[in-house]
């Protein structure tokens, strides 16, 4: 982890030649995007509207898209988002823990605070929890409320994610009686809390990396073991500013 922090600091101190080349190839020099945050000539602000920071802080401006592929222990995840009008950002997520717990989900994000160095986004997701491990077998619809808070500065954006997940599980009881099987169903609620702290580093405006520590409180009240992840973020290719 120390290595990645050093790398982040190092990246802060050097110019990105790729980004420079892109800038010089731009026919019409544009120094700020529509938000006013992303002055490309200013090293302090040139990555503020980058795709990696959109993914870190949640939300995106209309037409901007981003994808993150992350892997780690125990979670691996695919996340995609695209900005629409009025700040709404549809999301698509697929996550798994060790290939033994799965959740595909769709959702919607809305950026609540959109300042140059502070991003706060609320997200709502609906998905399906599926745990095929026989001893823990469970499946059912899951809803999640999540907030994402990020602090983009130069090339890096420390971030915090907090979520509360609620799953509706169905228990089916079958009693084999002399008169035939008798089936009854009961329902219960399962809660999972979620916290992630991490750091996103923008390599270019379109590509970044994400490193984080995950603490999902799965199967409460038994305390879980924290996890970690590393991710590749990309998006916004082909977008002219």
């Amino acid at each position: 982890m120390t290595f990645w922090w050093l790398l982040s600091v190092g990246l802060l101190l050097v110019e990105n030649p790729t980004a420079e080349a892109e800038t010089s190839a731009t026919p019409e020099p544009v120094t700020a995007d529509e938000s006013g945050h992303g002055d490309r000539d200013n090293p302090r602000t040139r990555f503020l509207e980058s795709a990696p920071f959109d993914l870190a802080g949640g939300g995106a401006r209309p037409g901007r898209w981003g994808v993150e592929l992350s892997g780690g222990w125990p979670w691996s995840r695919l996340r995609a988002q695209v900005g629409l009008a009025h700040g709404l950002t549809p999301l698509l997520e697929f996550e798994t823990a060790l290939g033994r717990r799965f959740r595909p989900a769709i959702g919607l994000g809305l950026r609540w605070v959109d300042r140059p160095h502070v991003r706060l986004t609320g997200e709502v997701l609906l998905g399906w929890l599926f745990v095929p491990v026989p001893e823990l077998k469970k499946r059912g619809p899951q809803g999640e409320l999540r907030i994402r808070l990020a602090f983009p500065v130069r090339r890096v954006a420390p971030y915090l994610t907090l979520g509360t997940r609620h799953t509706l599980l169905t228990d089916r009881l079958t009693i084999e009686r002399a008169t035939g099987p008798e089936v009854s169903r009961s329902y219960r609620h399962n809660w999972t809390g979620w916290a992630t702290v991490g750091l996103v580093v923008a390599i270019t405006e379109h590509v970044g990396i994400d490193l984080g520590i995950d603490y999902p409180w799965v199967d409460a009240p038994t305390l879980p073991i924290p996890g970690f992840h590393g991710g590749l973020m990309f998006g916004g290719f082909g977008r002219r500013r």
Binding site: W73, P74, E135, D219
Partner: protein
Amino acid sequence: MGQLLILVASVTTGCKADSLGTEIDGERVPVIDMHLHTGEWDSVGFASQEFIAGNLPFPINLNPEKSGNQILAPEGIVDELDKAGVSRGVLLAVYAPRTVGVTTNEQVIDNVAQFPDRLWGLASVRVDRWNDDREPQLAALREALESPGIIGVKLAHPHMHFRMDDSAYYGIYEVAGELAKPVYLHTGTSPFPGTSPEPPYTDPRYLEDAIQSFPETIFILGHLGFDAANKRHAGLAACVDLASTYPNVYLEASALGSKNSDPTGEILREGFVAIREAGVVDRLIYGSDGPQSPGFVNDYLNRTLIALDSAGYDLNEQRAVLAGNFARVFGVEVPKL
């Protein structure tokens, strides 16, 4: 990643105790845990597998077979004893194929033989074909009881589906008494599906006839008749009465004081208070019902120490509960520290 898992699990569940024994009032006191389960994942029964998996921390529980085998193996159990500072543990054989599964006498004998200075075992007996094979089963029990390190018998009427007052099974008590091997009995309901929750299988009062009929046999009433299904005391008064009335009755308070059953510690404290007020502290034997999950053996011991202290047990009484009573009943030495 496997090594990382073990490392992370160690960090989250506590490290190995500096030495065996636990410290009470500045003195180190030896501990014997008389209730530990062993076996192999595939034979412990699906209900037990679910129970163990449900107690493992995420994400270790996503691969319960691997973790379960580590926990149930004698090496894993001794590791848990080390972490808790427990000098010796007792492994239980189980024959409950329709509920919690099977851990054979042979498995227990083998596992005890791997750590003869740390483990003892209790044998059990198959009763699901009792009308057909009573004599061979009793002979097998007798043979198991004569094996090195096997010091008693384990029965669980609600798991094994036979009534506590059914005299057809009294031959088990007869063999145990003849060989001077105490009998540990699960009393109270069980959290596992498919068990028999009715009073003749769970209420310790239904054991009174057997207790009277076999005065040479030691009866250890496990779990204090706790209603595990509803997480409340149900048979505590009966257990205390029986211990007060009959000199061959002993008590054990495993499982009911776990975090899940007794989050505040009040249930375990109530049990200890009732036993002390009845003047039968010399009948109380310590057990945890571990290993269940990494750290459980240590956690249960700590919860027991807190409950004993808050129930007013002095140092000598705690010494007796943690090892002395066990040593006297089973005819073994108190472990030296």
